[in-house]
Amino acid sequence: MGTQAPGVRIGGLTVVYKTPAGELPAVRDISLTLEPGTITGIVGESGSGKSTLALSLLNAVQPPGRIAAGSVEIDGLGDVVGLAGEELRKARGRHIGYVFQAAQNSLNPLKTVGKQLLDLGRSHGVEDLRGLVREAQELLGRMGLDGARVLDSHQHELSGGMRQRVGIMLALVLNAHLVVLDEPTTALDMITQANILKIVREVHAERGLTTLVITHDIGVVAEVADRLAVMYGGRLVEQGPTREVLGAPQHPYTKGLIKAIPRLVGDIDEARALPGRPPTLATVPKQGCVFRERCALRMDVCDDVDPAPQVDQGERGPRTVACHAVTVKEHA
């Protein structure tokens, strides 16, 4: 593989963290498909398990966490959960590019960007290092930066937006076709954010990638993603084509989240915060619906039974929602 956008099939994935209270799931029984060549956005608040899910794509969940069940099938690589050691190390970078949360701070402050690029090349056995530098320069130029100058710079000489672009370059330079961006625009101002999102869209299309964007900001997903998945308390509560989910959200959490965004037009008092607070690893309910504590539509069944995802094959792709209230309404 290496020239085509791979598809990714996550099946029944559960990731647990060891705590004094036993092993608690940060991600519980999640199934999600990334179609080749699409941008998928995962939205969730802190503690929703979105970053843990993203790390699972690299099989990079660190102890005390571990993947307890499920599989992550990536075209051309097989099940990543089964990979280990050298095989796994090679897959990262070559096949899967990862732009870390706060990429601004993930660079080595003591080395120039160019030196770090060469380190990356050597550790992946690249023979044509000159070619690698050329490729990096081209990528940086594509993103509106002076490639030569950036490669000669230390991280403190670059602005937040520039570091983010360096992060994207390092993720793509080994020609990975599956890219994960974890909070790509946090801590950037609006204009820089708009710039980075435009670059993500363009680079995605030009290089033929499969892209996963993880964020807490629904606006970011709305701008770039074809499909949107909403996570809450380690569960996937709703997913579908971005425009459909935003235009007609079904799960009460998705509805609440969209309502909680301050907008530029309309009555500001219509925007409303969700009551309560997001659960943590320790407070997330062990059975029943994870959202029920903050839900206006709570019923008795929500306390005991985990709502199963209901799939609806739409024209623009499947839509899934996991909520008893929604299911009841449909069958009534």
Binding site: S159, M190, I191, T192, V220, V245, A273
Partner: protein
């Protein structure tokens, strides 16, 4: 009433190899925030909005101009004399995780400033306890459950409420909220914004918002003033809703165009404005500061600096030679 006239601040960086470099953070800013009023400073990172907020809160000095608090000019006063004035202005920082001492319970956090306050006004110990419970209720927390907690036992939203409660212990006249919700979970942000609006209405505390997100600036209330700041200069100033609905400065238009559109729910504006390049503070200071990035620059812009003024056809002040309304903001589908 807190006013500023011609406030200038220049940061000097000493470099051994490259020589000294000056960053002009503020280039003569005027502002006025009436008692019980509200204002919002918006702009990119590095535009000077945080510096101005810190100067207003007394955490930073200024080189030229004047700040007056309740009619008293600050520049002639000694540090000690200034302190009681600046105490009326309390800062709410961006990061509620580092703004609270992790080894102190909420009770201890509130106790210290209240003891000071009680000493000044000759009140009893009982008053301290009463007041601690009162400020917590004001910010929407239950004193019974929160007082004995440490910061790590609270969520981000609750911590920010404790920070606001601590600010209220000294009966401030103004709260300066510097990106106060950017590190808080999305579903809880609105609660904090609504709280600040509520405190303003109920207690008559003025609120100053410093943010890069224009939409949150609306929460200061419809009568609030918006200051759009670029490279240390106010480039547009007026009522919040006027500027959002009818911006005339290309920089304000760029800020508004950059706000993500909720596709499926909203329709983007028809004339979005994208700056030609990114912010570079080392650019020349000649002419209009925004000219190099401005897609609509004319001949005059390179030579002359436009000053903040009112022209025909727009109710707000702006600093642009060629002001023009453009349709930049996204609107709900139902309205289109």
């Amino acid at each position: 009433m807190i006013t500023g006239t011609g406030v200038v601040k220049t940061f000097k960086q000493r470099g051994k190899m490259l020589g000294a470099r000056e960053v002009r953070a503020l280039r003569g800013v005027d502002f006025a925030i009436p008692k019980g009023g509200a204002a919002s400073f918006i702009g990119e990172s590095g535009c000077g909005k945080t510096t101005l907020g810190r100067i207003i809160a007394g955490l930073e000095t200024y080189d030229e101009g004047e700040i007056e608090i309740g009619g008293v000019p600050m520049s002639g006063l000694k540090h000690k004399q200034r302190q009681p004035h600046f105490r009326k202005i309390q800062m709410i920082h961006q990061d509620p995780y580092s703004a609270l001492n992790p080894t102190r319970t909420v009770h201890q956090t509130l106790h210290a400033p209240l003891t000071l306050r009680a000493g000044q006004t000759g009140r009893s110990r009982a008053w301290i306890e009463e007041r601690a419970a009162e400020v917590l209720s004001l910010v929407g927390l239950d004193p019974g459950t929160v007082l004995s907690r440490y910061p790590h036992q609270l969520s981000g939203g609750m911590r920010q409420r404790v920070v606001i409660a601590r600010a209220l212990t000294v009966d401030p006249e103004m709260l300066v909220a510097d990106e106060a919700v950017s590190m808080i979970d999305v579903s809880l942000r609105l609660g904090i914004l609504a709280l600040l609006k509520d405190l303003r209405e109920r207690l008559g505390v003025s609120v100053l918002f410093i943010t890069h997100d224009v939409a949150t600036a609306r929460y200061i209330g419809a009568d609030g003033e918006l200051y759009v700041i670029y490279r240390g200069q106010v480039v547009e100033r007026g009522a919040v809703d006027t500027i959002i609905a009818d911006p005339v400065h290309p920089y304000t238009q760029s800020l508004l165009s950059a706000i993500p559109v909720l596709h499926g729910l909203e329709q983007p504006g028809e004339q979005p404005v994208m700056p030609l390049e990114s912010l570079d503070e080392s650019q020349s200071d000649a002419g209009c500061l925004f000219a190099r990035r401005c897609p609509f620059r004319g001949e005059r812009c390179a030579e002359e600096r436009p000053l903040l003024r009112i022209t025909e056809g727009a109710p707000q002040e702006h600093a642009c030679f060629y002001p023009e309304r453009r349709d930049v903001i996204a609107r709900p589908m139902s309205e289109v």
